[in-house]
């Protein structure tokens, strides 16, 4: 093979190889709780301590994909839009933050923050935490409080928030708003 032909073959191979080059998929990560409006944990006037003893997520929520409901029995786990942290941690932080922001009478803590003292126990079960195809952010499940003087029964919640614009960022905001609504319901029950 003469030098001319050799150069021609190399150039051809480079051109072919450049055709295989691909743009990597970009992934967006979202945080449920907002670092901007963190609640104050020092509440001198708080009369009661409430510990979030248990937060249980449905099996399909135990991953970092943001879930979207496409039909009554069909879900989409987004690969390009993901939670920046474990959803359990995210919901726990967001819920405790909302609860503490909304109430002056009670101080809500995670089990790690509670010492040996007695506290009312809060149990939350999240059955759904998703965005629906009909432009709604949906949060549903049950919660109950244990250790109150007047006792407490299981309360169900089914909170929906309409999506006013397209895209995941707005949907995440609405999910966060639904968490706020849940915190409001819990505070009313206490």
């Amino acid at each position: 093979m003469n030098p001319m032909n050799r150069t021609l073959v190399l150039v051809s191979l480079l051109v072919l190889l450049s055709g295989c080059a691909s743009q990597p998929e970009s992934i967006s990560y979202y945080l449920l709780h907002s670092p901007d409006n963190a609640a104050e944990l020092s509440k001198p006037q708080a009369q009661q301590k409430v510990v979030l003893r248990s937060l249980e997520l449905a099996e399909y929520l135990q991953n970092r994909h943001i879930v979207m409901q496409l039909a009554s029995n069909k879900l989409q786990f987004s690969n390009k839009h993901r939670w920046a942290e474990n959803l359990h941690t995210g919901v726990e932080k967001a819920l405790l933050n909302s609860l503490n922001r909304q109430s002056d009478k009670a101080l809500y803590l995670s089990p790690r923050q509670l010492g040996d003292e007695n506290a009312v126990e809060l149990f939350v079960e999240l059955k759904h935490f998703l965005i629906t195809n009909d432009s709604t952010a949906l949060v549903s499940g049950n919660f109950w409080l244990k250790g109150q003087k007047d006792g407490s029964s299981i309360q169900s919640f089914n909170i929906k928030r309409d999506l006013n614009s397209d895209g995941y960022p707005h949907a995440i905001d609405q999910l966060r708003s639904a968490i706020d609504k849940l915190a409001e319901k819990i505070n009313k029950t206490l």
């Binding site: 295989c20 691909s22 743009q23 998929e25 992934i27 991953n63 970092r64 979207m68 496409l70 989409q76 987004s78 690969n79 390009k80 993901r82 965005i131 195809n133 432009s135 309409d162 999506l163 006013n164 614009s165 397209d166 895209g167 995941y168 707005h170 949907a171």
Partner: protein, 542 residues
């Protein structure tokens, strides 16, 4: 009107020769009456007499005679018999019953009966007793009958086989007791009679069809009443028949193992009842060669019927111990040997059960006695102490100088029994022990014990030192283990580092998940650009 009025005509009176038709009425009535009498007599059955032991519950004009629950007669008269030993009833039978009254017809009174084999006649509690007739069409016509005292166990005409069993033993069977075969009740004892001359109890037994076909010439019957426990040379044996025979009595039957079935029995035959299967089975060996053993030890535990074994195989049995008519010596004589008569059965040593077999076994045994054939009493069961006779060949034994006889029975020489041999050996051992220099051994032992004691003291001192060193080392090691564990406790630096690393790994795995899924979905997507994403994005309400 004048007086001499004359009658011109006089009535002529003539005797009538014709009977008045009025007479027809009594004649017809008489005819009807005669016809009634004829009808009654022609439809009336025969009058019969039945002799009973007593007339308990019977009433003239009321008590009925029934066959298969159908009324076929009525008791007309009851009177005592001439020698006042019973009563005779006269009964009017129906016309239909005439053919059934033969010499085989049987009568008995039906009253309530409760026995181990069942309850019967309860209906007569309200209706009163009646006479039951078991009709028979076979035999000559008969009009005078003797009633049965009790109802027959088996109704006449039941298919099966009647046999007679007999026993010399102390068995006590009763009417209604069961005959079982492999746990099934196949027959019953019907009646019992005792033959005073023979002093034997005979039992008439009925075997129901189709089991009667099991009865052959070689069938043996044996007792299975209740539970039999036998402590013999072979240990404890427990035998039981069916549940019924556990509560009452019963016999079973079979052909002993090794015997042919034999010819089938079709008519009444006689069989013996044996105490158990073994006794029944042993009866197949009819012939035996008698030998005597002169036992110098005790015969306690040896029984008539105990097995005679040759290297573990039963070849005969003990037939007599210390015969009653042996008078050459008395028990209290010095050196009295207890004679035991055994029998070696040719059938058990693969010889024919004939005279030739007997002669062969006798000659062969005498020949072997010269070659060391000896008998000994062995303990068959340590618990019961039951003995059996063991015969074997001991080549080291010297042949006997003369062949002895006991009451014309050849004697097999004996060797001491097992315990006797042990005792002899124990004596030898004890003699050797006595000869041992025990004093010297005792001194040496004392010296050895002292040395051992010194050694033990030294060892104790050493081990005390060792304990201290080991405990110190262990304490040190435990302290280090504690320190090591503290490094891994929650909140420690190491623990925090481990947790942080695990979280990083978790995060990394989470990051790798989309890539793995993408590769799983499209393995070539690393080289070629992936197809346009089909993910649905959330849409807002417009």
């Amino acid at each position: 009107m004048s007086d001499d009025t004359q009658f011109s005509e006089l009535a002529a009176i003539k005797e009538s020769r014709r009977l008045s038709s009025v007479w027809l009425v009594p004649i017809i009535a008489l005819g009807i009456g005669l016809w009634f009498v004829y009808y009654q007599l022609s439809n009336q059955g025969p009058m019969i007499t039945i002799a009973f032991e007593n007339a308990e519950g019977l009433e003239a004009g009321k008590t009925k005679i029934k066959a298969r629950e159908v009324d076929i007669g009525l008791v007309k008269n009851i009177k005592l018999n001439e020698d006042l030993s019973g009563v005779v009833i006269t009964a009017q039978m129906s016309k239909e019953a005439e053919d059934m009254l033969t010499e085989n017809t049987e009568f008995w009174i039906v009253t309530p009966r409760i026995s181990l084999s069942g309850v019967s006649g309860m209906s007569t509690l309200l209706s009163g007793p009646y006479i039951n007739m078991e009709p028979s069409l076979e035999g000559d016509p008969e009009s005078d009958f003797i009633a049965r005292i009790e109802p027959p166990v088996t109704p006449i005409g039941t298919p099966g086989l009647h046999i007679t069993l007999n026993s010399n033993d102390e068995f006590a069977f009763e009417k209604g007791d069961a005959v079982v075969y492999k746990g099934l009740k196949v027959g019953e004892f019907e009646d019992i009679y005792f033959n005073l001359e023979e002093r034997v109890v005979y039992y008439n037994v009925f075997i129901e069809a189709p089991y009667h076909r099991l009865i052959t010439k070689n069938t043996r019957f044996w007792n299975v009443s209740g539970i039999n426990f036998e402590l013999g040379a072979n240990g404890l044996e427990v035998q039981a028949g069916s549940v019924e025979t556990l509560l009452t009595n019963g016999v079973t039957f079979g052909v002993p193992e090794g015997m042919s079935l034999g010819e089938r029995i079709t008519e009444r035959d006689y069989f013996d009842i044996y105490a158990d299967y073994q006794a029944a089975s042993d009866q197949r060996y009819k012939r035996g060669v008698k030998f005597a053993l002169m036992i110098e030890d005790t015969v306690r535990g040896l029984k008539v019927g105990a097995p005679v074994e040759y290297r573990g195989l039963v070849i005969g049995q003990v037939v007599e111990i210390n015969p009653e008519f042996y008078s050459e010596q008395i028990i209290l004589d010095e050196g009295y040997s207890i004679p035991v008569i055994i029998e070696i059965q040719p059938g058990r040593v693969q010889q024919p059960d004939t005279d030739e077999g007997v002669e062969f076994v006798k000659q062969q045994t005498l020949h072997w006695i010269d070659r060391g054939f000896r008998a000994t009493l062995e303990t068959g069961n340590l618990l019961t102490g039951a003995l059996y006779v063991d015969v074997d060949i001991y080549p080291e034994m010297a042949p006997p100088e003369t062949l002895e006889n006991f009451m014309n029975i050849p004697v097999i020489p004996t060797i001491p029994e097992e315990f006797g041999q042990i005792t002899e050996k124990m004596n030898q051992i004890l003699n050797k022990v006595n000869q041992m220099p025990l004093d010297d051994i005792g001194k040496n032992a004392n010296q050895m014990l002292k040395q051992f004691s010194d050694t033990a003291s030294s060892f104790e001192a050493t081990s005390n030192n060792a304990d201290k060193v080991i405990i110190a080392e262990m304490s040190k090691t435990l302290a280090e283990v504690n320190r090591l564990l503290a490094d891994y406790q929650q909140g420690s630096v190491t623990n925090t580092e481990i947790n942080r690393t695990m979280k990083s790994v978790q995060q990394l795995l989470g990051d790798l998940q989309p890539l793995i899924k993408q590769l799983n979905r499209a393995p070539n997507s690393l080289v070629f650009p992936p197809a346009e994403s089909t993910e649905v994005e959330p849409k807002g309400n417009q």
